[in-house]
Subunit: 341 residues, 4 copies
């Protein structure tokens, strides 16, 4: 059985997903697309040589009778509307981050999904599908470093354009928020943000770097350096310190060079190269589980938790205080697939 | 268009290929299978839940009208027969190594393919599809270490069972023979084999390790340690030494651990884990190019060259001498796709 | 000219220094010793075959006419007394940490030294003499990572016995306090201490690990994990993050092993092995500069700053608050040799 | 007791040794020097501010009554004469490599020393004193990789000037000849030399690189790449492959940098930096053992074996053949101190 998909939003990430589903993955095909820019949607269908109908709007895609599942890759503020409509239509929906513009929006999706009675929503947090993070989780889950006590992370990018305000948290750090609670099987209880000396190499007025400190229910302490103008590369670091040892996220595979008085491996510069395989795995696993009527990836609840946590981090940044992170108990509805193994 | 494939031989590697084509790759499906053990072939069809007909023998698979291409994964000595029959039928054929039992057998396939007039044969040398080797070739081709002068390799396995005679060369080293001439865009002119002190941990009577020295047309010198009872792991090493630097095949991705007074990464133990992704890439690229009527991978000619070179290495081992490697000029027929980029 | 030294305290560290000065270093000899346990002092003289007179007490050593310089390696609480007496006698004195039991005690030494008019006191912070830290400082000072913005450290020991209360700060972290301000040419303005989930493998009642956060005058943020029951080894980590790159303290030299499915280097277990060469360099440079009438190492002022900072860290630990670190301006007297290059 | 030394030859290496004995090492002083250029000898005495008499020639230094031991750091062809004279005088002598111009010359020294009846001669092979080689030997001797079967080495320098003929063997590879038989507690039985494609970046007419293959009595096979115009750095590699694992000579300590899209450590460029600490250790240990009337370092016999082996390598290079290495049995005289532990 081939899963017939409709894509809402044919911008960069929408096109990437269309290409990977069409050329690299198995088990699904794109049969419907739409974009706020209709001409672009038509061009994508033509360029990618896919046999898909171009619809007027997202709701028409969702309601098309030959569409089995939805990919929401449109402008962020429109996500909530299309995810809710997909739930109403009873169709599985894969939504790129953010799930909604606000924590409240995420909560409305959670409530709608529970009311519907079947898990339909997956959020596009792709790090859980990265080979490196999976290897790290495997090592930690197997007790190779003992019970985790601390996690030291770095989230570095060579430079950013059009970054402003709190995007270091809402756009970059959200990935750590999701992947670390998955890695630790834990949730957060407080956040603090430290503002180190600013780099002179960032856009004027932009605070960079940040250090975010999170505390989990178990008492594990996480410190993450977010430095989005670090110049030297796109570099994601994660070290779990357990009672008996430490484990680091693997460095991406690279040729070891001896050249010009240096023993070196390459550090990636473009973030797209870092998690490119993860996107493939993420969507392939989503297709496979969707075909079986299951849902294993980051849930609407996970999207909600990330939003609540990010809000607390932003508040902590602006107040300089240790901000408690409070949210309702996880509904039993989400228990089954909380941990992706 | 979906490529309809027939599989001759449903042993371990045959089943692996059936699974990956069915579950992971895109663009092909298994429609026909056969095995010398018919019951096993039927069981595989059933277990894998594929919609494939079980045939009496390989020739029936080759000649089935709904079969577009052939996978030869049967017992080695039967390869030549089925590859020749595929050529006769004008159907693309992917043949696991060895292409034929002897260099003469390989040459018969080369001649048949040329006579047929279109390249149809690909040999299963999967290392060319390994991310690490491709990254290494990329570095070398881009001049990052200058013109290659030497290559130092190691081919190590923890232990082997049922290894005898010259299998270190004919079963293990053949992979280096293929991948190094692809890496260097070069061919071999002589071979010498050195027999170091034997490990006491190999089966009685088995020479282990060997060091094989190859010289290329350009004068590049290759030394390869083959050590198939090295105990500690499955470990493939390759260092290219150029005029301005050296480049190493990347180590497989692994979590860095600090534990028990050691800073360590894991070394694989099972050879299957080392090149598992390469098999996927190899077959996906074969499917993609076959659908387009092209052929880019290791050719029948490459299979022939490997056989001639392996023969020279075996002779060098038994004589202790430097054995010249001679073969006819590469037919123009194979020029087009000699280098896989 | 040979520097004639008197040693006050012939316990473990005292004996080590006597041995290194006698057997490995050049330019000095031990001519006087004393210990609260006179029999032990006599035994040391005998065992080490040194030509030294055993004195009744530290003051007699300090005042002996053939003694040019003093090593204070006695019980911590006695340091202040002997250092002050050495200043009174106008003799150069090398004092193991702590310089005094309290910040006030350190300040009295500073005041006495300034009143005396010549710098005579060096404190035994040996990390500044470690090849690794010196290489790191060289890289940072040469701008290889741009202006420092953050420093991430770890101070880990396999286990401790008889550790209690705040010793993680007063006994272990003091080394970071000294070496990081030397590394950064900076001073501290605030401290915060975070208490992660406790390891179950520490002595009952002992908090372990700690995370100490320091802020410098320039706004550089330092986070240090102190984990003295980490089980796996004695491991000192330091990463400076600058505007254009990061630099790590080198790992100690170790053979790279491939064995038992691991690619590994050794991590030290005994702290003595980690800085053993630093002690040699520290004392040799102290001898050399003392002979020239100079003083380049960690000064009495540095000892005072460490004490003030450690006090703030202890307070931060107990209050959970961000504690300001305030101290008088550095007296001009100490300007000359503030930075050891 | 201070060892009073006479230095014959005050060129670069002679001056280095004078400086280290005077400023860094303990237990010896320079009391006599000479050089074929008397003015230079006088200048060295003055510049280094040492209290040494300048003699007319080497024999006068050797025979000076206040000279306890001799350092021969003169022009290579003069070594044999001064070493023989030292033996005649019954004085311990440390001779920089080569021990003599020919194997026959080395043999004459061996014979003279045996006739004298006490071991007096040490040859300046400093690699045995390198921390890295000692750590490697420790690992191998402790069975961490099982019984050695093969050794893979590289001896690379960025470029050489005034290198000609067989100097890659007689000037560079001699260090491997000495250190590997010490490392393996073994001797050589045959040599073969392979001439890879020449680098275009060497002086005209100079063969570079070479690969030298040695076989030991135990059957261990050693391959060493000698590449003295490798451009990228001074890089000494050594990997011992044993029955259960492999062990690599440690890389020199270096800061790990993340900068400009590279994760890198530094490779040394100047050979002097690589073994600078080894010279200190070598001479300190020579002083210490000489004072005790002992001799533990590379002996006259070791110098002779290196000369015989180098001759065989040169012959192998010119003939392209596998050249047997034959020499008399090691005299019992040298048994005691054969292995430096």
């Amino acid at each position: 059985m081939t899963l017939r998909l409709g894509v809402i939003g044919t911008g960069a990430i929408g096109q990437d997903h269309i290409r990977r589903i069409t050329d690299s993955l198995t088990g699904a095909e794109i049969v419907a697309v739409t974009d706020i820019n209709a001409a672009q949607a038509r061009a994508v269908v033509e360029n990618e040589k896919i046999n898909a109908k171009v619809y007027e709007n997202g709701h028409d895609v969702i309601n098309a009778t030959d569409v089995d599942g939805i990919l929401v890759t449109s402008w962020g503020p429109s996500h909530e509307e299309f995810v809710l409509a997909s739930i109403t239509a009873g169709k599985p929906v894969f939504c790129e981050k953010p799930l909604a513009r606000t924590a409240e929006g995420c909560k409305r999706i959670v409530d709608a999904e529970i009311a519907h009675g079947k898990q339909l929503v997956q959020v596009g947090f792709m790090r859980r599908y990265d080979k490196g993070y999976r290897a790290l989780k495997n090592v930690v889950d197997n007790g190779k470093v003992g019970a985790p006590l601390m996690v030291h992370c770095a989230h570095r990018a060579p430079s950013v354009s059009n970054f402003s305000g709190d995007m270091a948290i809402t756009d970059a750090f959200v990935h750590e928020i999701d992947v670390l609670r998955w890695l630790l099987n834990d949730d957060y209880v407080s956040a603090q943000v430290i503002l180190p000396k600013n780099t002179t190499l960032a856009d004027k007025g932009l605070q960079d770097p940040h250090i975010v400190l999170l505390e989990t229910k178990q008492g594990i302490r996480i410190d993450t350096e977010i430095f989005v103008n670090c110049q030297y590369g796109y570099d994601i670091q994660c070290q779990v310190v357990g009672e008996t040892g430490t484990a680091n996220l693997p460095e991406p595979l690279s040729v070891l060079l001896r050249s010009e008085a240096k023993l070196s491996t390459e550090i990636l510069v473009d973030w797209k190269d870092r998690f490119i395989d993860s996107y493939d795995t993420e969507l392939q696993e989503w297709i496979n589980s969707t075909v079986k009527g299951e849902m294993h990836g980051p849930s609407a609840w996970d999207g909600f938790v990330v939003a609540v946590t990010a809000d607390a981090c932003v508040k902590a940044k602006h107040t300089g205080e240790i901000v408690p992170i409070t949210m309702p108990e996880r509904p039993v509805f989400y228990d089954k697939f909380f941990v992706l193994q």
